[in-house]
Amino acid sequence: MCLAVPGMVLNINIEEGNGLRSGRVQFGGITRQVNLNFVPDALPGDYVMVHVGFAISRVDAAEARRTYQLLEEMGALESELPPDDAVAADEGHR
């Protein structure tokens, strides 16, 4: 459930008359107006998770970098080993 997609905030505007905060967010080459009411701290350049046209959280870039680095190190070690399991798994499923 809950398809939410990360996108980069390009600009922010406050709608006249009703004070709703929204902005253009870019998703890999397309952009869309997204409501930013729930992410008052988001600034252009930040990434937000967008669900049904609303940003529901701001991606913590530093945290993402930190945790991903650990994963990358795991991955780097793995690639030094001979490739094996994928093939074995396949054979088992034919």
């Binding site: 809950c2 996108g7 890999g28």
Partner: protein, 353 residues
């Protein structure tokens, strides 16, 4: 529980399709519902050998000449979209159906069903665009028809075409000719047309620079056929996307088609739109792409040839034909596992879940 069925041919539901006494939009989407309608209603009514091959075109023999015939209806909304309009689409779609049968496209007919109240200027622009596309493709519109229906009965304008071409001797391509070992080639990125249209639809608006890939492919096909005659079949994957076209071939040839997910070209914008709306690009329409099933020995050379053509510069080998699960299309994911690429029932709907 009963053993899971191993092949798509075994998976017919013992009860009839849930009573649709009415026709749904899904019946026109190029997926399972469409296929079932053809199999259950149209095929039995009109049965003959040419029709039964269910290729994109029919090849009939008249006094020694092999004539290819195809027919198509164009019901696109909106009528004008980035990269084309219903007029140019009508020419490209028809020419492509002929071209993928190896035919040299020659003549078109164009029947217009116009909704009362359509602006005359709109009609003029569509006709002009159709003319330009026909000239570019080297085909003539030799006959036509016009009908007007009451306001409210249509989306402004529908166009139906028939295309006629000639198939050279010795060329036999059909969806039932794929064999284990063959390679699957794709001429370029998938999903461009469908996403270009979707971006204009009310309720889903997003901004994108994506243009429909609508184009006439017959010159690309011509160059491909110059290089090799070991092409088993070609398809242009329109409604229902890459998945429908490949599933049809897998079913007709009773083979498995194994795709490599990483090898399939997709533009960043199409990927972004699909991620946002929860769509799978494999099911999104194309209007200027083709797939070719070709003998393995000819594949590399053919891809290189395609890449030299304007409409094939992203061409790639995306898979292989095998015999492990006849009738199924499967995908090797980037993680090395496999999943089925199923034929969709009706239209693919955007999702939030």
């Amino acid at each position: 529980m009963a053993e899971g069925p191993k092949s798509i041919a075994d998976m017919t539901c013992p009860t009839p399709l849930r009573a649709t006494d009415t026709i749904l939009l899904g019946h026109g989407s190029g997926g399972k519902l469409s296929a079932d309608l053809v199999r259950a209603l149209f095929l039995p009514a009109f049965w003959n050998p040419a029709l039964s091959r269910l290729d994109d075109q029919a090849v009939v023999n008249v006094n020694g000449l092999r004539i290819a015939i195809t027919t198509d209806s164009f019901v696109v909304k909106p009528l004008f979209f980035p990269g084309g309009d219903i007029g140019s689409l009508a020419v490209h779609g028809t020419v492509n159906d002929l071209a993928v049968g190896g035919a040299q496209p020659l003549f078109l007919s164009a029947a217009f069903i116009i909704e009362e109240g359509l602006s005359r200027d709109v009609l003029r622009r569509v006709v002009e665009s159709l003319r330009k596309a026909a000239d570019s493709a080297g085909v003539q519109v030799v006959t036509g028809d016009t009908k007007v229906v009451e306001n409210g009965s249509g989306d402004g304008l529908f166009i139906t075409t028939t295309g006629i071409g000639l198939v050279p001797d010795g060329l036999e391509m059909s969806a039932n000719r794929a064999r284990p070992g063959d390679k699957v080639l794709l001429s370029g990125s998938i999903g461009d047309h469908g996403i270009a249209i979707l971006a204009q639809r009310e309720g889903l608006e997003f901004e994108s620079a994506i243009r429909s890939d609508s184009a006439a492919l017959h010159t690309l096909v011509g160059e491909m056929l110059q290089v090799t005659r070991e092409i088993r079949c070609m398809r242009d994957p329109t409604r229902g996307g890459l998945s429908s076209a490949l599933n049809e071939i897998a079913a007709q040839s009773r083979v498995t088609i194994e795709l490599i997910e990483r090898a399939i070209p997709i533009r960043e914008e199409v990927k972004g739109a699909c991620e946002l709306l929860g769509l799978d690009p494999l099911y999104v329409a194309n209007e200027g792409k083709l797939i070719a099933i070709v003998a393995a020995s000819a594949a590399e050379n053919l891809v290189a040839t395609m890449r030299r053509h304007r409409l094939g510069n992203q061409a790639a080998i995306i898979g292989t034909v095998t015999d492990t699960n006849p009738g199924l299309v499967v995908m090797r994911t980037p993680l090395g596992t496999t999943r089925i690429v199923d034929m969709l029932a009706g239209d693919q709907l955007p999702r939030i879940c």
